[in-house]
């Protein structure tokens, strides 16, 4: 009787359910490009500003002239939005054909979507040119991406400000660094800039302390197990805590972004408002857009992360990674061929000259590096003990993000050194 009396309600609900059931079965299959037919590749990269933006556009245009059947739809996406957009896209039916890929455990997670193209056979003949670093873009022994440049994280500093504070040389040990911080503060200069709002810059500090305290084998094993239980990880946290106690950062650092706007940590160094920043070599590509002083590059210098006396790790180890691209399965053969083009020596030289890449993946292009500071960085990268992939990339995304958040909270005074190490276990997968 009730149902009869409320046909409107019942019928409407049935309608809704039916509608959902019907449409749930449908899936809009993306049109697969026919082999040999004209193809448009949607390309996501993170160079939203020049010089990178124009450089990539030129490369796309050049490839298109050489291969008229392949056109590009280039979409620059801000770095911080990649972590949201990529998973969303990979779950949809229309992911980009080519997109920026930083390798490691994050790549492995994305491979689970089934949408990434296995490039092993397509790259077999030439990927060796890019050195052992290319292994960072493998998952389960198969190649899923190709790097176009490598990175290492170190200190970018203002020689003029160091001079002002009476600092003569780069700090060799962590105690030297603390002393330099004190001198800069005495000269009323913000010693260190950091983009804490974005979290990952904080992680660099913790991870470097880990590299100085933990032997390489321990680090590799623990990352693979997603469990940082060794005491050295806690010790690293304590080292960091000591350093943070010197209050080395700029005013309001917890709210400062890393690369966005003149008030970002990169902008602060570019404009001489802070003396140094622990950042990757990409700083050279980011800073020009933020600097009001066009000659800022002449005032910059670089030194590696100092050693920690008594630390059990490799005092020469570097933290870094690289940029690369991955193809999705709908991208046809054009994509791996395009990536080969990007990895070729001539294009690599173009990228370096245009300052879109700082340390090319193809060593044949190293001669294109002109900036003296970058030459210092390159020299260090070439002789470094080993270059550890940043942890949030090496770990699956969930664990990596949990770690970044724990470190960022640590910078804000929350949590213990042990808690930071344990945070990786929070991750789901």
């Amino acid at each position: 009787m009730n149902l009869r009396r409320r046909p409107a309600l019942a019928a409407s609900t049935l309608l809704a359910a039916a509608l959902l059931a019907l449409t749930a079965c449908s899936s809009s299959g993306g049109s697969s490009a026919k082999k040999g037919g004209p193809v448009t590749l949607t390309w996501w990269h993170n160079a939203t500003t020049d010089p990178g933006k124009s450089a990539w556009q030129r490369i796309a245009d050049a490839y298109h002239s050489a291969h008229p059947k392949v056109s590009f739809k280039v979409q620059p996406i801000q770095n911080e939005q990649f972590t949201t957009k990529v998973p969303v896209a990979l779950q949809g039916d229309n992911p980009p054909d080519v997109y920026q890929q930083w390798g490691g455990g994050a790549l492995a997670t994305q491979v689970e979507s089934g949408k990434l193209m296995d490039l092993t056979s397509a790259t077999q003949g030439w990927i060796g040119q890019l050195g052992p670093g290319a292994k960072g873009w493998q998952a389960g022994g198969k190649q899923y991406g190709v790097p176009y440049d490598y990175h290492i994280v170190g200190f970018w500093y203002r020689k003029d400000l160091f001079q002002q504070a009476g600092i003569t040389g780069a700090p060799a040990t962590i105690d030297d660094l603390k002393a330099d911080v004190a001198k800069l503060k005495a000269a009323h200069i913000a010693p260190v800039a950091i983009g804490s709002k974005d979290r990952w810059p904080d992680a660099f500090w913790w991870e470097y302390f880990v590299l100085r305290e933990c032997p390489q084998a321990t680090v590799t094993k623990s990352l693979a197990a997603k469990s940082l239980d060794d005491a050295c990880f806690t010790k690293a946290g304590e080292d960091l805590k000591d350093f943070l106690a010197t209050k080395p950062f700029q005013n309001g650092f917890l709210g400062t972004p890393a690369q966005q706007g003149a008030g970002s940590s990169a902008g602060l160094v570019a404009n001489g408002k802070a003396a140094m920043e622990l950042q990757g070599d990409w700083e050279m590509a980011v800073m020009p857009a933020l600097a009001t002083d066009k000659n800022f590059a002449d005032k910059l210098g670089w030194f590696p992360f100092p050693s920690v006396p008594g630390g059990g790790g490799d005092q020469q180890a570097g933290l870094g990674g690289g940029d690369g691209f991955s193809c999705t399965t709908k991208a046809t053969d054009a994509c791996p061929d395009f990536l080969k083009y990007v990895a070729s020596a001539s294009v690599q030289r173009q990228l370096v000259q245009a300052k879109a890449a700082t340390l090319p993946a193809n060593p044949a292009a190293n001669d294109a590096i002109s900036d003296p500071t970058l030459k210092v960085v390159l020299a260090y990268l070439q002789k470094v003990g080993y270059n550890q992939l940043y942890f949030d990339q090496a770990l699956p995304t969930s664990n990596g993000q949990a770690l970044n958040e724990a470190v960022a909270n640590f910078f804000a005074g929350q949590g213990s050194p042990k808690a930071v190490a344990d945070s990786v276990k929070q991750g789901g997968s």
Partner: protein, 283 residues
Amino acid sequence: MTAAAPARPRRPLRPATLASYAVGVVLVVLTVVPLLYVVIGGFRTTAQINESPTALPHPWVWSNYRAIVTSSLFWRFVGNSALIAVVATTLAVTLGAMAAFALSRYAFKGREAVYLLFTVGLLFPLGVASLPLYLELRQLGWLENPFAVALPEAAFSLPLTIVILRPFMRAVPAELEDAAVVDGTSRLGFFVRILLPLSGPALATVAVLAFVTSWNTYLLPLLVFSDTQHFTLPLGVANFQTQYSQDTARILAFTALSMVPALAFFVFAERRIVGGLSGSVKG
């Protein structure tokens, strides 16, 4: 005192009147100054802004606004937002009016339950529903599709629409309806030909609210659209801010221009909103 016109008792309200004006001024300042900062900032260069954040443009720079107004991407954003907002508003108002009519002038068992169902929907913020909604849309294969945004927006506007329209429709006297029936109109005919025109102010109100809500929605389009070409204006603003982050002046210009459509629409419809709201709060 003449007996002709009843005079209002003169109230000794001087201090209170002054207070009103003072409060008015404070309100205007607090509200308008941030908006003005954005608009005027667009007329300066970033260097000027970094030098002295609070100064007026010197000289007045037109290139920021010109660059945006001539950029096809900006107008694309406006177009996308407009399409989605129009679809969402039309759906919300039409379906909402029909449902409000049923809920106000028909008696049936479970009516209050249905009404409660809709009003409870008022409290489910679109932002919260975003994750499962996204999963649902993905399942339906509707990502990158403007209807994937317009339909949920319409759905989420239904509760407020119905809550505002129902008292209005109820307030129309039953005699009017009876008279219409005597003249041979069906109930639905009464709805379309008499009730709807009478509910003008209320309809305008819900239309404006639904339009503004849709125009300003950020999270759902963020999840549904990856292709910049499909972006709506709020997405464009946030995206622009990160993309041109070093060019503060240009961001301010873009933000200022993004406010214009919404504000213009509001000025146009302002009177109706207040009129509509006062009818609904009465009953």
